[in-house]
Amino acid sequence: MKITKFVTLITVVAVLAFAGQGCKKRPGRTTPLPGQAASGVGSDTTGNPIGSGNPITTAPPMIGGETPTTMKANADGTFGAASGSIEGRPKDREKFKAFTVYFDFDRSVIKSSEASKVDSVAGQFKNENPACDLLIEGHCDERGTAEYNRALGERRALAIREYLIRAGVNGEKIHTVSFGKDQPVALGHDEASWAKNRRGEFILVLPK
Protein backbone atom coordinates (compact mmCIF):
# COMPACT_ATOMS: atom_id res chain seq x y z
CA MET A 1 0.00 0.00 0.00
CA LYS A 2 1.20 3.37 -0.84
CA ILE A 3 1.22 5.93 1.84
CA THR A 4 0.45 9.30 0.50
CA LYS A 5 1.24 12.32 2.46
CA PHE A 6 -0.57 15.45 1.63
CA VAL A 7 1.69 18.34 1.91
CA THR A 8 0.07 21.60 1.32
CA LEU A 9 2.40 24.11 -0.08
CA ILE A 10 1.12 27.53 -0.76
CA THR A 11 3.48 29.51 -2.81
CA VAL A 12 2.62 33.12 -2.95
CA VAL A 13 4.82 34.71 -5.49
CA ALA A 14 6.88 37.52 -4.23
CA VAL A 15 4.48 38.20 -1.43
CA LEU A 16 7.22 39.39 0.81
CA ALA A 17 8.64 41.68 -1.78
CA PHE A 18 5.30 43.32 -2.32
CA ALA A 19 3.90 42.97 1.16
CA GLY A 20 3.86 46.70 1.68
CA GLN A 21 2.20 47.55 -1.59
CA GLY A 22 -1.33 46.45 -0.92
CA CYS A 23 -3.50 44.32 -3.11
CA LYS A 24 -3.95 46.51 -6.12
CA LYS A 25 -2.65 46.02 -9.60
CA ARG A 26 1.02 45.38 -9.33
CA PRO A 27 2.73 45.62 -12.67
CA GLY A 28 6.03 45.14 -10.88
CA ARG A 29 5.13 41.50 -10.37
CA THR A 30 5.45 40.75 -14.01
CA THR A 31 8.61 40.60 -15.97
CA PRO A 32 8.25 42.82 -18.99
CA LEU A 33 10.32 41.48 -21.83
CA PRO A 34 12.86 43.82 -23.22
CA GLY A 35 11.55 45.63 -26.28
CA GLN A 36 12.97 44.12 -29.42
CA ALA A 37 12.56 47.16 -31.56
CA ALA A 38 16.17 48.07 -31.00
CA SER A 39 17.42 44.99 -32.76
CA GLY A 40 14.74 45.10 -35.39
CA VAL A 41 14.09 41.40 -35.02
CA GLY A 42 11.16 39.66 -33.46
CA SER A 43 7.58 40.64 -33.64
CA ASP A 44 4.30 39.71 -32.13
CA THR A 45 3.01 36.68 -33.92
CA THR A 46 -0.03 36.06 -31.78
CA GLY A 47 -2.10 36.33 -34.92
CA ASN A 48 -0.77 33.02 -36.13
CA PRO A 49 -3.24 30.17 -36.04
CA ILE A 50 -2.34 27.75 -33.33
CA GLY A 51 -0.02 24.99 -34.38
CA SER A 52 0.09 25.98 -38.05
CA GLY A 53 3.40 27.56 -38.87
CA ASN A 54 3.68 30.95 -40.44
CA PRO A 55 3.95 30.70 -44.15
CA ILE A 56 5.19 33.92 -45.62
CA THR A 57 3.28 34.75 -48.74
CA THR A 58 4.06 38.43 -48.95
CA ALA A 59 7.38 40.09 -48.35
CA PRO A 60 7.82 40.33 -44.60
CA PRO A 61 9.24 43.44 -43.02
CA MET A 62 12.87 43.89 -43.72
CA ILE A 63 15.35 44.36 -40.99
CA GLY A 64 16.70 47.82 -40.67
CA GLY A 65 14.13 49.26 -43.05
CA GLU A 66 15.39 50.15 -46.48
CA THR A 67 17.47 47.98 -48.72
CA PRO A 68 21.05 48.65 -47.84
CA THR A 69 22.84 50.12 -50.79
CA THR A 70 25.78 51.95 -49.32
CA MET A 71 28.79 49.80 -48.78
CA LYS A 72 32.18 50.59 -47.45
CA ALA A 73 35.45 49.50 -48.95
CA ASN A 74 37.29 46.42 -47.84
CA ALA A 75 39.60 46.94 -44.92
CA ASP A 76 42.48 46.48 -47.36
CA GLY A 77 40.97 48.88 -49.85
CA THR A 78 40.13 46.30 -52.50
CA PHE A 79 36.44 47.21 -52.64
CA GLY A 80 35.36 47.48 -56.23
CA ALA A 81 38.88 47.29 -57.52
CA ALA A 82 39.86 43.64 -57.81
CA SER A 83 36.65 42.40 -59.35
CA GLY A 84 35.26 45.69 -60.54
CA SER A 85 36.81 45.73 -63.97
CA ILE A 86 34.03 43.63 -65.54
CA GLU A 87 31.22 44.87 -63.34
CA GLY A 88 28.35 46.42 -65.27
CA ARG A 89 29.85 45.72 -68.68
CA PRO A 90 27.77 44.12 -71.48
CA LYS A 91 28.25 40.39 -71.84
CA ASP A 92 28.00 38.09 -74.84
CA ARG A 93 26.89 34.65 -73.66
CA GLU A 94 26.39 33.27 -77.18
CA LYS A 95 29.87 33.77 -78.62
CA PHE A 96 31.46 30.72 -76.95
CA LYS A 97 28.31 28.79 -76.12
CA ALA A 98 29.35 25.81 -78.25
CA PHE A 99 32.53 25.43 -76.20
CA THR A 100 30.99 24.79 -72.80
CA VAL A 101 33.28 22.37 -70.96
CA TYR A 102 31.81 19.41 -69.06
CA PHE A 103 33.29 17.73 -66.01
CA ASP A 104 33.11 14.38 -64.28
CA PHE A 105 31.30 14.11 -60.96
CA ASP A 106 33.17 15.91 -58.20
CA ARG A 107 36.14 16.57 -60.48
CA SER A 108 37.72 19.75 -61.81
CA VAL A 109 40.14 18.14 -64.25
CA ILE A 110 39.65 19.14 -67.90
CA LYS A 111 39.08 15.87 -69.69
CA SER A 112 40.88 15.20 -72.98
CA SER A 113 37.49 15.23 -74.73
CA GLU A 114 36.96 18.81 -73.52
CA ALA A 115 40.45 20.23 -74.02
CA SER A 116 39.96 21.10 -77.69
CA LYS A 117 37.04 23.38 -76.71
CA VAL A 118 39.29 25.35 -74.39
CA ASP A 119 41.95 25.53 -77.13
CA SER A 120 39.33 26.92 -79.50
CA VAL A 121 38.25 29.59 -77.02
CA ALA A 122 41.89 30.51 -76.40
CA GLY A 123 42.51 30.91 -80.12
CA GLN A 124 39.39 32.98 -80.73
CA PHE A 125 39.77 35.17 -77.66
CA LYS A 126 43.32 36.15 -78.62
CA ASN A 127 41.88 37.65 -81.80
CA GLU A 128 39.16 39.59 -80.01
CA ASN A 129 39.18 43.31 -79.34
CA PRO A 130 41.86 43.67 -76.64
CA ALA A 131 39.37 45.69 -74.60
CA CYS A 132 37.33 42.50 -74.08
CA ASP A 133 37.65 40.26 -71.06
CA LEU A 134 36.70 36.62 -70.58
CA LEU A 135 34.50 35.43 -67.72
CA ILE A 136 34.44 31.74 -66.85
CA GLU A 137 31.45 30.42 -64.96
CA GLY A 138 31.89 27.25 -62.92
CA HIS A 139 28.79 25.13 -62.25
CA CYS A 140 27.99 21.87 -60.46
CA ASP A 141 25.24 19.30 -60.39
CA GLU A 142 22.80 19.22 -57.49
CA ARG A 143 24.56 16.47 -55.59
CA GLY A 144 27.02 17.76 -53.01
CA THR A 145 26.35 20.42 -50.43
CA ALA A 146 25.87 24.07 -51.35
CA GLU A 147 29.17 25.55 -50.14
CA TYR A 148 31.22 22.53 -51.24
CA ASN A 149 29.75 22.97 -54.70
CA ARG A 150 30.46 26.70 -54.63
CA ALA A 151 34.13 25.90 -54.01
CA LEU A 152 34.08 23.08 -56.59
CA GLY A 153 32.58 25.42 -59.21
CA GLU A 154 35.39 27.89 -58.49
CA ARG A 155 37.95 25.09 -58.79
CA ARG A 156 36.49 24.16 -62.22
CA ALA A 157 36.53 27.77 -63.43
CA LEU A 158 40.09 28.21 -62.19
CA ALA A 159 41.18 24.96 -63.88
CA ILE A 160 39.91 26.35 -67.18
CA ARG A 161 41.61 29.65 -66.46
CA GLU A 162 44.94 27.89 -65.89
CA TYR A 163 44.54 26.00 -69.16
CA LEU A 164 43.82 29.24 -71.03
CA ILE A 165 46.89 30.88 -69.52
CA ARG A 166 49.01 27.92 -70.62
CA ALA A 167 47.47 28.39 -74.06
CA GLY A 168 48.78 31.92 -74.12
CA VAL A 169 45.83 34.00 -72.91
CA ASN A 170 46.69 36.91 -70.61
CA GLY A 171 45.55 35.82 -67.13
CA GLU A 172 44.59 39.37 -66.20
CA LYS A 173 41.84 39.18 -68.82
CA ILE A 174 40.30 36.01 -67.36
CA HIS A 175 37.79 36.29 -64.50
CA THR A 176 36.02 33.49 -62.66
CA VAL A 177 32.67 33.14 -60.95
CA SER A 178 31.25 30.04 -59.30
CA PHE A 179 27.52 29.47 -59.16
CA GLY A 180 27.82 26.13 -57.36
CA LYS A 181 24.57 24.26 -57.93
CA ASP A 182 22.46 27.43 -58.13
CA GLN A 183 22.20 27.73 -61.94
CA PRO A 184 21.47 24.33 -63.48
CA VAL A 185 20.66 24.20 -67.20
CA ALA A 186 18.84 20.86 -66.84
CA LEU A 187 16.33 20.50 -64.04
CA GLY A 188 16.03 16.70 -63.90
CA HIS A 189 17.27 14.69 -60.96
CA ASP A 190 19.15 12.07 -62.98
CA GLU A 191 22.58 11.53 -64.49
CA ALA A 192 21.51 12.94 -67.87
CA SER A 193 20.70 16.29 -66.23
CA TRP A 194 23.62 16.20 -63.82
CA ALA A 195 26.09 15.67 -66.69
CA LYS A 196 24.79 18.83 -68.41
CA ASN A 197 25.07 20.86 -65.21
CA ARG A 198 28.70 20.00 -64.33
CA ARG A 199 30.16 22.60 -66.64
CA GLY A 200 32.30 25.60 -67.32
CA GLU A 201 30.87 28.35 -69.53
CA PHE A 202 32.75 31.09 -71.38
CA ILE A 203 31.25 34.59 -71.46
CA LEU A 204 32.79 37.37 -73.51
CA VAL A 205 32.83 40.62 -71.54
CA LEU A 206 32.57 43.54 -73.95
CA PRO A 207 34.03 47.01 -73.49
CA LYS A 208 31.73 49.47 -71.78
Binding site: L9, T11, G35, N48, G51, N54, T145
Partner: protein
Protein backbone atom coordinates in the same frame (compact mmCIF):
# COMPACT_ATOMS: atom_id res chain seq x y z
CA UNK B 1 0.12 9.97 -5.72
CA UNK B 2 -2.39 12.66 -5.59
CA UNK B 3 -2.09 16.22 -6.64
CA UNK B 4 -4.37 18.87 -5.37
CA UNK B 5 -4.42 22.28 -6.86
CA UNK B 6 -5.44 25.22 -4.85
CA UNK B 7 -6.32 28.18 -6.96
CA UNK B 8 -6.19 31.45 -5.21
CA UNK B 9 -8.59 33.54 -7.12
CA UNK B 10 -7.93 36.82 -5.51
CA UNK B 11 -8.32 38.71 -8.71
CA UNK B 12 -7.07 42.04 -7.56
CA UNK B 13 -3.92 40.55 -6.17
CA UNK B 14 -3.70 38.21 -9.15
CA UNK B 15 -1.67 35.79 -7.16
CA UNK B 16 -0.38 32.91 -9.18
CA UNK B 17 -2.22 29.62 -8.95
CA UNK B 18 -0.59 27.58 -6.30
CA UNK B 19 0.24 23.97 -6.66
CA UNK B 20 -0.45 21.77 -3.71
CA UNK B 21 1.62 18.72 -4.02
CA UNK B 22 1.75 15.33 -2.55
CA UNK B 23 5.17 14.06 -1.82
CA UNK B 24 5.82 10.44 -2.51
CA UNK B 25 8.08 7.72 -1.29
CA UNK B 26 8.75 6.59 -4.81
CA UNK B 27 12.33 6.99 -5.80
CA UNK B 28 13.13 9.48 -8.47
CA UNK B 29 13.24 7.64 -11.73
CA UNK B 30 15.97 9.17 -13.80
CA UNK B 31 16.37 7.78 -17.24
CA UNK B 32 19.73 6.08 -17.28
CA UNK B 33 19.09 4.05 -20.37
CA UNK B 34 21.26 4.69 -23.35
CA UNK B 35 19.96 7.49 -25.52
CA UNK B 36 18.58 6.61 -28.93
CA UNK B 37 21.73 7.97 -30.52
CA UNK B 38 24.01 6.07 -28.15
CA UNK B 39 25.81 9.34 -27.45
CA UNK B 40 26.90 10.52 -24.04
CA UNK B 41 24.54 13.38 -23.22
CA UNK B 42 22.95 14.32 -19.90
CA UNK B 43 19.62 12.48 -19.66
CA UNK B 44 16.45 14.39 -20.46
CA UNK B 45 14.81 15.88 -17.37
CA UNK B 46 11.33 14.44 -16.70
CA UNK B 47 8.84 17.28 -16.33
CA UNK B 48 5.07 17.41 -15.95
CA UNK B 49 3.36 20.43 -17.46
CA UNK B 50 -0.19 21.58 -16.77
CA UNK B 51 -2.35 24.64 -17.17
CA UNK B 52 -1.21 26.18 -20.45
CA UNK B 53 -3.49 26.32 -23.44
CA UNK B 54 -3.29 26.62 -27.20
CA UNK B 55 -0.20 28.05 -28.83
CA UNK B 56 1.49 28.72 -25.49
CA UNK B 57 1.13 25.07 -24.48
CA UNK B 58 2.60 23.83 -27.78
CA UNK B 59 5.38 26.39 -27.74
CA UNK B 60 6.60 25.82 -24.19
CA UNK B 61 6.60 22.06 -24.64
CA UNK B 62 8.60 22.43 -27.83
CA UNK B 63 11.04 24.82 -26.14
CA UNK B 64 11.58 22.53 -23.18
CA UNK B 65 12.01 19.46 -25.37
CA UNK B 66 14.90 21.06 -27.26
CA UNK B 67 16.46 22.20 -23.99
CA UNK B 68 16.62 18.61 -22.73
CA UNK B 69 13.33 17.95 -20.97
CA UNK B 70 10.80 15.21 -21.63
CA UNK B 71 7.13 15.20 -20.81
CA UNK B 72 6.03 12.63 -18.24
CA UNK B 73 3.15 12.00 -15.87
CA UNK B 74 3.04 13.74 -12.51
CA UNK B 75 4.28 10.63 -10.81
CA UNK B 76 7.42 10.38 -12.91
CA UNK B 77 8.23 14.06 -12.88
CA UNK B 78 11.43 15.57 -11.56
CA UNK B 79 9.78 18.99 -11.88
CA UNK B 80 6.20 20.16 -12.06
CA UNK B 81 5.41 23.18 -14.21
CA UNK B 82 2.02 24.74 -13.66
CA UNK B 83 1.14 27.63 -15.85
CA UNK B 84 -1.58 29.88 -17.09
CA UNK B 85 -1.89 32.05 -20.14
CA UNK B 86 -4.24 34.73 -21.28
CA UNK B 87 -3.85 37.28 -24.05
CA UNK B 88 -0.85 39.46 -23.22
CA UNK B 89 0.35 37.39 -20.30
CA UNK B 90 2.08 34.07 -19.65
CA UNK B 91 2.88 32.86 -16.18
CA UNK B 92 4.25 29.74 -14.61
CA UNK B 93 5.44 28.12 -11.42
CA UNK B 94 8.15 25.48 -11.49
CA UNK B 95 8.03 23.27 -8.45
CA UNK B 96 10.52 20.69 -7.27
CA UNK B 97 8.49 18.04 -5.41
CA UNK B 98 11.59 16.48 -3.92
CA UNK B 99 13.10 19.52 -2.29
CA UNK B 100 9.60 21.02 -1.98
CA UNK B 101 10.94 24.24 -3.39
CA UNK B 102 9.43 26.64 -5.86
CA UNK B 103 12.22 27.10 -8.38
CA UNK B 104 10.53 29.62 -10.67
CA UNK B 105 7.47 31.78 -10.22
CA UNK B 106 7.23 34.30 -12.99
CA UNK B 107 4.74 36.11 -15.15
CA UNK B 108 5.62 37.75 -18.43
CA UNK B 109 3.85 40.59 -20.21
CA UNK B 110 4.60 42.73 -23.24
CA UNK B 111 6.35 41.89 -26.51
CA UNK B 112 3.93 39.18 -27.69
CA UNK B 113 2.75 35.82 -26.45
CA UNK B 114 5.44 33.77 -28.14
CA UNK B 115 8.19 35.92 -26.64
CA UNK B 116 6.59 35.64 -23.20
CA UNK B 117 6.38 31.87 -23.56
CA UNK B 118 10.01 31.58 -24.67
CA UNK B 119 11.08 33.73 -21.72
CA UNK B 120 9.27 31.46 -19.28
CA UNK B 121 10.76 28.36 -20.93
CA UNK B 122 14.24 29.82 -20.58
CA UNK B 123 13.61 30.59 -16.90
CA UNK B 124 12.55 26.97 -16.35
CA UNK B 125 15.63 25.68 -18.18
CA UNK B 126 17.96 27.85 -16.15
CA UNK B 127 16.34 26.75 -12.89
CA UNK B 128 16.98 23.15 -13.93
CA UNK B 129 20.57 24.01 -14.90
CA UNK B 130 20.05 23.60 -18.61
CA UNK B 131 21.35 26.16 -21.12
CA UNK B 132 18.46 28.36 -22.32
CA UNK B 133 17.90 28.59 -26.08
CA UNK B 134 14.22 29.49 -26.42
CA UNK B 135 14.92 33.18 -27.02
CA UNK B 136 17.73 32.62 -29.52
CA UNK B 137 17.58 33.37 -33.24
CA UNK B 138 18.44 31.51 -36.40
CA UNK B 139 19.33 32.89 -39.82
CA UNK B 140 18.78 30.94 -43.01
CA UNK B 141 18.43 31.08 -46.78
CA UNK B 142 15.01 31.04 -48.47
CA UNK B 143 14.89 30.21 -52.19
CA UNK B 144 11.41 30.52 -53.69
CA UNK B 145 12.11 27.97 -56.44
CA UNK B 146 14.54 25.75 -54.54
CA UNK B 147 17.62 26.85 -56.48
CA UNK B 148 19.01 30.17 -57.66
CA UNK B 149 18.05 33.56 -56.24
CA UNK B 150 16.85 33.84 -52.67
CA UNK B 151 17.06 36.02 -49.60
CA UNK B 152 18.53 35.68 -46.12
CA UNK B 153 16.03 35.64 -43.24
CA UNK B 154 16.29 35.68 -39.48
CA UNK B 155 13.66 34.18 -37.19
CA UNK B 156 13.13 32.84 -33.71
CA UNK B 157 14.87 29.49 -33.32
CA UNK B 158 11.52 27.74 -33.92
CA UNK B 159 11.03 29.55 -37.24
CA UNK B 160 8.46 32.10 -36.11
CA UNK B 161 8.72 35.88 -36.51
CA UNK B 162 10.75 35.57 -39.71
CA UNK B 163 12.06 38.74 -41.31
CA UNK B 164 14.18 39.24 -44.39
CA UNK B 165 17.70 40.56 -44.03
CA UNK B 166 18.53 40.93 -47.72
CA UNK B 167 16.41 42.14 -50.60
CA UNK B 168 19.06 41.80 -53.29
CA UNK B 169 17.01 39.67 -55.71
CA UNK B 170 20.14 37.64 -56.53
CA UNK B 171 21.80 34.46 -55.31
CA UNK B 172 22.67 34.77 -51.62
CA UNK B 173 24.18 32.09 -49.44
CA UNK B 174 25.77 30.88 -46.23
CA UNK B 175 24.53 33.26 -43.51
CA UNK B 176 26.64 33.24 -40.35
CA UNK B 177 25.98 35.09 -37.11
CA UNK B 178 28.57 37.37 -35.63
CA UNK B 179 28.32 39.06 -32.27
CA UNK B 180 26.06 41.98 -31.54
CA UNK B 181 23.27 41.50 -34.07
CA UNK B 182 25.67 41.29 -36.99
CA UNK B 183 25.01 38.82 -39.76
CA UNK B 184 27.60 37.79 -42.34
CA UNK B 185 26.65 36.18 -45.64
CA UNK B 186 27.51 35.72 -49.31
CA UNK B 187 25.70 37.79 -51.95
CA UNK B 188 26.02 37.88 -55.75
CA UNK B 189 24.83 41.49 -55.72
CA UNK B 190 27.83 42.48 -57.86
CA UNK B 191 27.58 39.47 -60.14
CA UNK B 192 29.82 37.12 -58.19
CA UNK B 193 30.03 35.73 -54.65
CA UNK B 194 31.25 38.35 -52.20
CA UNK B 195 31.07 38.36 -48.39
CA UNK B 196 29.17 41.10 -46.59
CA UNK B 197 28.36 41.90 -43.01
CA UNK B 198 25.12 43.57 -42.04
CA UNK B 199 24.18 45.26 -38.81
CA UNK B 200 20.65 44.03 -38.11
CA UNK B 201 19.82 47.04 -35.96
CA UNK B 202 20.57 49.67 -38.58
CA UNK B 203 20.50 47.65 -41.80
CA UNK B 204 23.94 49.06 -42.66
CA UNK B 205 25.95 46.67 -44.76
CA UNK B 206 29.58 46.56 -45.72
CA UNK B 207 31.79 44.37 -47.88
CA UNK B 208 34.12 42.11 -45.95
CA UNK B 209 35.73 40.26 -48.87
CA UNK B 210 35.33 41.21 -52.55
CA UNK B 211 38.37 39.67 -54.15
CA UNK B 212 38.62 38.09 -57.60
CA UNK B 213 36.54 34.95 -57.94
CA UNK B 214 35.05 33.15 -54.96
CA UNK B 215 34.42 34.82 -51.60
CA UNK B 216 32.14 32.61 -49.49
CA UNK B 217 31.60 30.26 -46.52
CA UNK B 218 32.35 32.84 -43.85
CA UNK B 219 32.49 31.64 -40.21
CA UNK B 220 32.91 33.83 -37.15
CA UNK B 221 34.96 32.78 -34.11
CA UNK B 222 33.11 32.38 -30.81
CA UNK B 223 34.64 35.58 -29.43
CA UNK B 224 33.33 37.45 -32.48
CA UNK B 225 36.76 38.78 -33.43
CA UNK B 226 37.98 36.56 -36.27
CA UNK B 227 36.70 35.32 -39.61
CA UNK B 228 37.42 32.13 -41.49
CA UNK B 229 36.36 32.01 -45.16
CA UNK B 230 37.01 30.46 -48.55
CA UNK B 231 38.56 32.77 -51.16
CA UNK B 232 39.59 31.97 -54.72
CA UNK B 233 41.82 34.99 -55.22
CA UNK B 234 45.12 33.10 -55.31
CA UNK B 235 44.00 30.64 -57.99
CA UNK B 236 42.36 28.01 -55.79
CA UNK B 237 39.44 28.01 -53.34
CA UNK B 238 41.54 28.21 -50.16
CA UNK B 239 40.92 28.71 -46.46
CA UNK B 240 41.75 32.16 -45.10
CA UNK B 241 41.44 33.85 -41.73
CA UNK B 242 41.16 37.55 -41.02
CA UNK B 243 40.10 40.07 -38.43
CA UNK B 244 36.37 40.63 -38.14
CA UNK B 245 36.46 43.53 -40.64
CA UNK B 246 38.44 41.54 -43.24
CA UNK B 247 41.81 43.04 -42.30
CA UNK B 248 44.97 41.03 -41.52
CA UNK B 249 44.05 38.46 -44.11
CA UNK B 250 46.05 35.24 -43.99
CA UNK B 251 45.95 32.20 -46.28
CA UNK B 252 46.00 28.88 -44.39
CA UNK B 253 45.75 26.25 -47.14
CA UNK B 254 47.65 25.79 -50.40
CA UNK B 255 47.65 23.32 -53.28
CA UNK B 256 45.04 22.50 -55.89
CA UNK B 257 42.00 21.21 -54.04
CA UNK B 258 38.49 22.09 -53.04
CA UNK B 259 38.38 23.61 -49.55
CA UNK B 260 34.99 24.50 -48.10
CA UNK B 261 32.75 25.14 -45.10
CA UNK B 262 35.11 26.19 -42.30
CA UNK B 263 33.97 26.35 -38.67
CA UNK B 264 35.79 27.40 -35.49
CA UNK B 265 36.55 25.38 -32.39
CA UNK B 266 34.89 27.05 -29.38
CA UNK B 267 38.27 28.24 -28.05
CA UNK B 268 39.05 29.90 -31.39
CA UNK B 269 42.37 28.08 -31.76
CA UNK B 270 41.40 25.54 -34.42
CA UNK B 271 39.41 25.56 -37.64
CA UNK B 272 37.67 22.50 -39.08
CA UNK B 273 36.79 22.43 -42.79
CA UNK B 274 36.31 19.95 -45.60
CA UNK B 275 38.64 19.30 -48.48
CA UNK B 276 39.11 16.81 -51.32
CA UNK B 277 42.91 17.23 -51.25
CA UNK B 278 43.59 13.48 -51.13
CA UNK B 279 41.04 12.82 -53.87
CA UNK B 280 38.47 11.84 -51.25
CA UNK B 281 36.46 14.44 -49.37
CA UNK B 282 37.35 14.50 -45.68
CA UNK B 283 37.23 16.81 -42.67
CA UNK B 284 40.46 18.41 -41.52
CA UNK B 285 41.51 20.59 -38.64
CA UNK B 286 44.19 23.26 -38.79
CA UNK B 287 45.49 25.75 -36.26
CA UNK B 288 43.96 29.19 -36.77
CA UNK B 289 47.59 30.37 -36.98
CA UNK B 290 48.21 27.98 -39.88
CA UNK B 291 50.35 24.85 -40.07
CA UNK B 292 49.80 21.17 -40.71
CA UNK B 293 46.41 19.63 -41.40
CA UNK B 294 45.01 16.87 -39.21
CA UNK B 295 42.39 14.60 -40.69
CA UNK B 296 39.29 14.13 -38.53
CA UNK B 297 38.83 10.37 -38.50
CA UNK B 298 35.17 10.06 -39.44
CA UNK B 299 33.93 6.65 -40.50
CA UNK B 300 31.26 7.72 -43.00
CA UNK B 301 31.43 8.80 -46.62
CA UNK B 302 32.12 12.30 -47.99
CA UNK B 303 31.83 14.44 -44.87
CA UNK B 304 31.18 18.17 -45.42
CA UNK B 305 29.66 21.17 -43.56
CA UNK B 306 31.22 20.66 -40.12
CA UNK B 307 30.02 22.63 -37.10
CA UNK B 308 31.84 22.36 -33.78
CA UNK B 309 29.62 22.16 -30.70
CA UNK B 310 29.95 25.12 -28.31
CA UNK B 311 31.06 22.70 -25.56
CA UNK B 312 33.81 21.39 -27.85
CA UNK B 313 32.82 17.74 -27.57
CA UNK B 314 31.37 17.03 -30.99
CA UNK B 315 31.49 18.11 -34.60
CA UNK B 316 28.19 17.70 -36.41
CA UNK B 317 28.49 17.41 -40.19
CA UNK B 318 26.81 16.25 -43.39
CA UNK B 319 27.72 12.91 -44.89
CA UNK B 320 26.94 12.41 -48.55
CA UNK B 321 25.88 8.99 -49.74
CA UNK B 322 24.26 7.78 -52.93
CA UNK B 323 20.89 9.46 -53.16
CA UNK B 324 21.08 11.82 -50.24
CA UNK B 325 22.68 13.24 -47.13
CA UNK B 326 22.86 12.25 -43.48
CA UNK B 327 23.47 14.32 -40.38
CA UNK B 328 26.32 12.75 -38.39
CA UNK B 329 28.33 13.66 -35.31
CA UNK B 330 31.94 12.78 -34.63
CA UNK B 331 33.34 12.94 -31.12
CA UNK B 332 36.31 15.27 -30.64
CA UNK B 333 36.64 14.28 -27.01
CA UNK B 334 39.36 12.15 -25.46
CA UNK B 335 39.16 8.42 -25.95
CA UNK B 336 35.99 8.66 -28.05
CA UNK B 337 37.70 10.87 -30.62
CA UNK B 338 36.68 9.85 -34.13
CA UNK B 339 33.65 7.87 -32.99
CA UNK B 340 31.06 8.70 -35.65
CA UNK B 341 27.31 8.42 -35.23
CA UNK B 342 24.77 8.81 -38.01
CA UNK B 343 21.63 10.57 -36.76
CA UNK B 344 19.00 11.42 -39.38
CA UNK B 345 18.68 12.25 -43.06
CA UNK B 346 19.44 15.89 -43.80
CA UNK B 347 22.13 18.49 -44.47
CA UNK B 348 23.44 21.88 -43.28
CA UNK B 349 23.54 21.00 -39.54
CA UNK B 350 24.47 23.65 -36.94
CA UNK B 351 24.48 23.42 -33.16
CA UNK B 352 22.26 25.34 -30.82
CA UNK B 353 24.04 27.24 -28.03
CA UNK B 354 23.21 24.32 -25.70
CA UNK B 355 25.31 21.79 -27.66
CA UNK B 356 22.29 19.48 -27.63
CA UNK B 357 19.85 20.65 -30.32
CA UNK B 358 20.79 21.01 -33.97
CA UNK B 359 18.97 22.84 -36.74
CA UNK B 360 19.35 21.36 -40.22
CA UNK B 361 17.73 21.25 -43.66
CA UNK B 362 15.49 18.30 -44.49
CA UNK B 363 14.97 17.37 -48.13
CA UNK B 364 11.32 17.18 -49.15
CA UNK B 365 10.80 16.60 -52.88
CA UNK B 366 13.99 18.46 -53.84
CA UNK B 367 13.16 21.41 -51.62
CA UNK B 368 14.31 22.01 -48.08
CA UNK B 369 12.51 22.42 -44.79
CA UNK B 370 14.35 23.50 -41.66
CA UNK B 371 14.06 21.05 -38.81
CA UNK B 372 15.24 20.88 -35.23
CA UNK B 373 16.98 17.73 -34.04
CA UNK B 374 17.35 16.65 -30.43
CA UNK B 375 20.68 14.88 -30.86
CA UNK B 376 20.49 12.41 -27.91
CA UNK B 377 17.03 11.11 -28.86
CA UNK B 378 17.34 11.68 -32.64
CA UNK B 379 13.85 13.19 -32.58
CA UNK B 380 13.07 15.79 -35.24
CA UNK B 381 10.53 18.58 -35.50
CA UNK B 382 10.15 21.02 -38.38
CA UNK B 383 10.32 24.72 -37.60
CA UNK B 384 7.51 27.03 -38.71
CA UNK B 385 7.21 26.85 -42.47
CA UNK B 386 8.52 29.48 -44.78
CA UNK B 387 7.15 29.33 -48.32
CA UNK B 388 9.87 28.21 -50.69
CA UNK B 389 12.93 26.18 -49.83
CA UNK B 390 14.69 27.01 -46.53
CA UNK B 391 18.29 25.89 -45.98
CA UNK B 392 21.77 26.91 -44.77
CA UNK B 393 20.79 27.76 -41.19
CA UNK B 394 23.07 29.55 -38.71
CA UNK B 395 22.21 29.64 -35.00
CA UNK B 396 23.05 32.80 -33.06
CA UNK B 397 25.14 31.70 -30.09
Amino acid sequence: MKLTRLFLTAVLCSVLPVTVLAATDDAIRIDREATASGLDFPPAIPIHITGFSGEVDKTIKNDLFFMGFRLVSEKEARYLLQGKNEPGRVEGVLYDPFTKQTKVAKAFTGSGTRSQTHALADAVAQAAERIPIAQTKIAFLVQPSGVGPGEIYVADYDGYSAQSVTQDGVIVAAPAWGKGSTLFYTSYKFGKPDIFSQNLSTGARKAVARFNGLNSSVAISADGRRLAMILGKSGNPDLYVSDIDGGNLRQLTTGKAVNASPCWSPDGRTICFCSDRTGVTALYTISAEGGALTRVPTTVGRPTEPDWSPDGKYIVFTSQRRGGFDICVVSMDGSRRGQTTSLVEGEDPVWAPNSRAVVFARNVNHRHVLSLLDVPSKQVKDVARISGSASSPSWAR
